[in-house]
């Protein structure tokens, strides 16, 4: 009886060991193709690791860009797309730096972006001016020839904004203290 029990116990232990071996084998087999399976239609046989790493890197870049620059996203409406060009430039440069395509942001790039912003702001103000003049000419407010000139003026802070954009810092960097 005792010997039979021992043999039975040994058999149970053997079975458990085999089962655990099988399960570990299954786990390792299941683990290996997991990253491949998660890849959309990429070349899984040739460069799965490279593509996986590339996607991870881009994912991190995307998260950073959304976190830092999402508020700058341009408005889709045609009537209010001022600043979209600058937004795209900023996003593009941010992507290049984060993705390692370029190492630094040049002063030239900042100047380009600043100019885009300033030009767009100027165009927007001119457009509004023309609109208001047209409305005033058509409307009753123009009956005594008194167009409200206050509304046509630039905001007080505009001069400071332009000075900051085109001001001594960037110009000095570019021209060695000139302008």
């Amino acid at each position: 009886m005792g010997a039979t029990k021992k043999t039975a116990a040994k058999k149970v232990v053997k079975c458990k060991k085999t089962a655990s071996k099988k399960s570990t084998t299954k786990k390792s087999v299941a683990k290996e193709p997991a990253p491949k399976g998660s890849q959309p239609a990429a070349d899984e046989a040739e460069t799965p690791l490279e593509i996986d790493e590339y996607r991870q890197r881009l994912g991190a870049v995307g998260r950073l860009m959304r976190a830092a620059l999402a508020d700058l996203e341009g408005v889709e409406e045609v009537s209010d797309r001022i600043g979209q060009g600058a937004y795209l430039q900023v996003m593009g440069r941010a992507f290049e730096v984060l993705d390692g395509l370029s190492q630094t942001i040049e002063v030239d790039d900042l100047v380009k972006i600043s100019k885009v912003v300033a030009e767009q702001r100027r165009a927007e103000l001119n457009h509004r001016k023309l609109q208001m003049v047209g409305e005033a000419a058509d409307g009753q407010a123009n009956s005594n020839g008194d167009i409200e000139s206050r509304d046509l003026e630039l905001p007080e802070s505009f001069g400071e904004i332009v000075r900051q954009i085109y001001g001594t810092t960037l110009a000095a960097d570019l021209n060695g203290g000139g302008e």
Partner: protein, 105 residues
């Protein structure tokens, strides 16, 4: 084979364009930036086939061009400097929510 590329290679690149733009969504990228980025995984990639792929994805409605207000005449903006972003349909394909036999392996 199309222009020396196998169907598999074409699908891989087109898929990766969608996946890359999906990672950056809703941001738009210039075609040149996108290609330079993809060169890290497809070093043999060339500009002309890539431009064809981009045009194809636009026509399919998966990618759309974003015309910047700083482009004076968008028709004459060089392809390399054009901005592209993913559409909602492109996002569904990139996320594998819907399938496209022309892009699936």
């Amino acid at each position: 084979m199309a222009n020396g590329r196998t169907a598999r290679q074409i699908k891989m690149v087109r898929n990766e364009v969608l996946v890359a733009l999906n990672m950056l969504y809703p941001a738009a990228l210039q075609a040149e930036q996108l290609m330079r980025s993809l060169l890290s995984v497809f070093p043999e990639m060339e500009w002309d086939p890539f431009r064809r792929d981009l045009a194809y994805l636009c026509e399919k409605g998966y990618v759309q061009r974003v015309v910047s207000d700083s482009e004076s005449d968008s028709r004459f903006t060089p392809w390399r400097q054009r901005w592209f972003r993913l559409t909602s349909a492109g996002m569904e394909v990139a996320d594998r929510v819907i399938g496209d036999p022309a892009l699936d392996d």
